[in-house]
Symmetry: C2
Subunit: 142 residues, 2 copies
DNA sequence: TCAACAGTTTAGAATAAATATAATATATTA
DNA sequence: TAATATATTATATTTATTCTAAACTGTTGA
């Protein structure tokens, strides 16, 4: 199956018609060999550099949100001024480098399963995310 | 030691002079029997209702940030439109109820220690936070 | 007592992310 | 292809947060 067809399917499943702009967004997000982290602003910049088509902010926001809702993208819980998204939707965790403002994946196997002994009546856990904030370790320099 | 003196000490240690406004903020944040979660907007509203003194948004932001820097408050990593803060600075975790937009503390003892096997050269872990998102469990109704 | 000053408070302006709007353009369908 | 339903876009709006500059407070030292 050609890439374009995969994208059209992803879009349709997300309740979106496949348009030039949306397919371009798919190319950037899902073509990559590796998964990656991005902000809306970064995504728009990548598209601008790669493509000969123009995509407005609104379209990018709408498309990203539709993919999130469908589970093709994940939002990473961070207290940043802008939202960070992840094309890796498998269960995994993150380091956040506070000095370089960069996210690093932590594979699920690298974290023992997080076992929460407490429950809330009438509620179930939908997701468990671990954020480990990291900084330079100057002690290790000596 | 009277409460006011504790607050004055907290303020001085945070590099702030004890002023009427700042002491009022301390009263709201640190007088409570229990620790609690709040947004800046909520904090301002509480002060408005309780106090006969006026406190501007800027003063609240500045004071909260100074307390954060000193470790008297913690920011909770959430992708919300506004920042959530916690007066409980002990090591603990959170449920986030996505339907009611409410935070619930999870005591450290209720989570087995999160053991991250991966390391990043030259970096050390400063904090590890677990956010468990919860939703209604309709299955349990039957 | 007062002048000088360092730090505060405040209202309002500025910034920036995210969302809404409404006119125009495009895709789908029958 | 015509009719319709949905998308795209530029622009305006909203909202949290930060910045600014002027007025204020309290302390110190002559």
């Amino acid at each position: 199956m050609a890439y374009a067809e995969q994208y059209i399917e992803k879009l349709r499943k997300s309740g979106l018609r496949p348009t030039k702009q949306r397919i371009k967004i798919c190319e950037v997000l899902f073509d990559a060999e590796k998964t990656f982290h991005f902000t809306i602003k970064e995504l728009v910049k990548i598209i601008e550099n790669q493509a000969n088509i123009k995509v407005s902010l609104a379209t990018v926001y709408n498309t990203v949100h539709a993919f999130m809702k469908k589970g093709y993208l994940k939002e990473i819980p961070l207290n940043a001024s802008q939202s960070y998204y992840d094309t890796n939707v498998t269960h995994h965790h993150h380091f956040f480098d506070e000095e370089e403002n960069k996210l690093i994946d932590i594979h699920q196997d690298d974290v023992d399963e997080v076992n929460i002994k407490r429950t809330i009546p009438g509620k179930k856990i939908r997701s468990v995310e671990v954020i480990a904030k990291i900084v330079s370790d100057n002690q290790s320099q000596k």
